[in-house]
Amino acid sequence: MTKQLKQNKTQKQSNWNILFAGTGGQGVLTASEVAGYAAVFDGYHVKKSEVHGMAQRGGSVESHLRFGDGVFSPLITKGAVDFLVSFHKDERDRMKDFLKKGGTDLIDALEKAKSSVSDPKFVNTYLLGVLSSYLPITEQSWMKALEKAFGQKRLEENKAVFSQGRARKQQ
């Protein structure tokens, strides 16, 4: 079922636009970094843009990730977001106008993520797992990207949480 959906999407779509939104310290930038690497490992042309500076002091943090053919702009046009991955309800409300018609809002996964993980630090990894189930990127590249981002630090736990999130749709 998931597979079928993915293939249909891939055929129609040449660009993938993912917006990560949250506040400083929630792992927003790490999440988009992992997804960016996963896309690079799969051979896509990738652009990822974010604003540094206030991230550590609790301000709003957003990261735009785009991959596919014909990606020029580092920012996603308002109304063109395919997937909105939010780490905070308020930030999701702030960014929801960026979603395109029929785009996927992963806000429901946030509650699930919070209740599924043992340590709040893993919320971002869980959400990545959920996101991964919608994207045409191989599991192998995701795993490589996790290794890249986390090194050996809690890698096995991260991989397990990721897989839990990735399997969510089938549950």
């Binding site: 843009s49 500076g53 002091r57 609790g58 020029f72 920012l75 046009t77």
Partner: protein
């Protein structure tokens, strides 16, 4: 992070990392900078990943520029990087380095911040190219930043000039996949032989040099005509764009079929190519971020163009603006509803500002994390202009308002970078008052970089540590005190005492930034029944305290246990946790 510097591989680099990689491949030897968002990662990357590069955090941008220029005069390829306002600090050597020229290639990277994501102004540094008569390249993406950096070294050595590379936040902080190469080993440096006519800018030599500079500009302009940096992409001839930087990318997606003249070298201009392109399209639109830099020049050539409405000169451009912008419409203001940043939980600065607020001092401020104390409800920082002005505006305002309770505040990194001369001026010109040096042992605002008073270099090597209290004493101030900001009573009594004295006093409040020392203590105990919902604890603006609909509070799990809320609560509703250790 992985090693970036291997032969031919696909890397995923930010604009700043791409500049570092490009410079390294070009045989860079010496790199100097002072941190500043959005440029900081250029030097951080060079220092962390390229062992063969002599990289440093300098004391400030003027110093960094001169060190890098010296290295270039010494015969090696060198690099200076700064944020836009940092360029202002380096302007003095920059202007005359245009006259001296270089021996080894010299690239000057400046990263502007349209949209003020993390800056005190929104200046467009492209004007500096005209002012200084230096060539300027402007990449539109990390992969171009990488290529242009390498090219910049060639231009620098061919034309005997520093070359400016202008980035913006959206180039510096975008990551892109790109193919990297290997390093060209630089040629041997050669002898150090004096060349007084070239490097000693006394009037006679400088006059001769000015003639050469004008000549150099003509040659560079001729190069610009032929260079692949300025690229024509013919599409539909009804609509043509002249653009540069990140704007090019926004247009490419909004108007994929249009024709483009994309300027990669934005100074000097390629007038012939511009005229030729103008002739070949029906409507010509110039699209650029911030000031009408390209547009002003093209208009001066007598070419008819459509330009953006002036409302688009303010703030950064975004892809969704393109249709309106090209139609000549006014920008639709988008309300900023982003969550405001605040000082971290347990930040030592919060204790100082809470005390200054209680004492009702007028506080001249400076730039750093502590500038956040200007935001309500703290609202206890009353000026912020540029680095170092916390000390000098204190003096100026005192001269205008004698006898008022005025204190100046400045961070440790900022003090070393730009505050020392102002302090000496205050002593020399007999100013009284209080300067508080907020010493958190780091340059926190830009991500935690070392500086002379931390005792470590950019490569984390131990070095001679600058002792701030000794330095301040040597400047000749009357009183120097070092206090721990968490000891609130001591801090308050000291501030009161010093304010009443006819003396110039420096108070160093010393406690590490919470991001360096993550020592958390248990959260205070909140007795809701004692809480009168007075809101006093909310005024300290701690992100761990959340107001409830009934006016009472909730303390979240990320509380640092600093106990400032305990100290301010007038009803004893907040108590230190049993296990909490008294702050030493």
């Amino acid at each position: 992070m992985a090693k970036l510097n291997q032969t031919k591989q696909i890397a995923f680099l930010s604009g700043n990392e791409a500049i570092a990689q490009g410079a390294w491949e070009a045989g860079l030897k010496v790199a100097a900078a002072y941190p500043g968002t959005p440029s900081t990662e250029i030097l951080e990357t060079l220092a962390a990943h390229y062992k063969d590069i002599d990289a440093q955090w300098s004391v400030n941008e003027k110093v960094a520029y001169e060190v890098a220029l010296g290295a270039a005069i010494g015969g090696v390829r060198s690099l200076f990087a700064c944020k836009h306002v940092g360029l202002n600090v380096a302007m003095d050597p920059l202007m005359t380095s245009s006259y001296t020229g270089i021996k080894g290639g010299f690239v000057v990277v400046v990263a502007d911040d349209p949209g003020l994501h993390s800056s005190q102004n929104e200046q467009d540094s492209r004007w500096v190219a005209i002012f200084s008569k230096l060539p300027m390249l402007e990449p539109s993406s990390p992969s171009e930043a990488y290529e242009y950096t390498k090219l910049a070294y060639e231009i620098s050595e061919t034309f005997d000039t520093p070359v400016m590379l202008r980035s913006t936040s959206r180039v510096s902080h975008t990551k892109e996949d790109l193919e990297t190469g290997s390093r060209i080993e630089p040629a041997p440096v050669g002898e150090l032989t004096p060349d007084i006519a070239k490097y000693v800018m006394v009037p006679k030599n400088a006059y001769a040099k000015h003639i050469l500079i004008e000549e150099r500009l003509r040659k560079l302009a001729a190069m610009a005509e032929k260079s692949k940096l300025n690229r024509i992409e013919m599409g539909d001839k009804k609509l043509g764009f002249i653009t540069s930087g990140v704007s090019y990318n926004y247009l490419k997606e909004s108007f994929p079929n249009a024709s483009f003249l994309k300027l990669g070298m934005i100074y000097p201009f390629c007038d012939k190519k511009i005229a030729q392109f103008a002739k070949s399209v029906k409507q010509l639109v110039v699209v650029e971020e911030l000031d009408p830099f390209i547009a002003t020049h093209i208009k001066s050539l007598g070419i008819k163009i459509t330009t953006k409405h002036p409302s688009f000169d303010i703030g950064e451009l975004r892809p969704e603006y393109m249709a309106d912008l090209v139609a000549g419409k006014k920008k639709k203001e988008v309300p900023a509803t982003t969550r405001k940043p605040v000082l971290c939980r347990g930040c030592p600065h919060r204790f100082v500002f809470n005390t200054l607020r209680k004492l009702k001092f007028f506080v001249t401020g400076d730039i750093g994390c502590y500038t956040l104390a200007a935001t309500p409800p703290m609202a206890t920082l009353h000026t912020c202009v540029c680095m170092g002005a916390g000390i000098t505006l204190h003096e100026g305002i005192r001269r205008a308002q004698p006898g008022k309770k005025i204190a100046g505040v400045i961070g440790d990194s900022t003090f070393v970078a730009a505050g020392i001369t102002g302090l000496i001026n205050a002593v020399y010109n007999k100013v009284k008052g209080i300067i508080v040096i907020l010493d958190n042992s780091t340059t926190a605002m830009t991500g935690g970089q070392h500086h002379p008073a931390t005792g470590k270099t950019i490569k984390e090597d131990p070095t001679k540590k600058l002792i701030l209290e000794d330095l301040v004493k040597a400047c000749g101030v009357d009183n120097v005190d070092v206090v721990v900001p968490y000891k609130l009573d001591e801090l308050e009594n000291l501030l009161k005492k010093r304010m009443d004295e006819d003396a110039l006093s420096v108070i160093i409040t010393r406690s590490p930034c919470r991001l360096i020392e993550k020592k958390y203590e248990p959260a205070p105990i909140y007795e809701r029944e004692k809480c009168k919902a007075c809101g006093v604890c909310l005024r300290i603006d701690c992100p761990a305290i959340h107001k409830q609909p009934d006016g009472t509070i909730e303390i979240d799990e990320f509380c640092a246990g600093c106990k400032l809320c305990v100290a301010v609560c007038p009803f004893g509703a907040l108590k230190p946790h049993d296990k909490a250790i008294e702050t030493k």
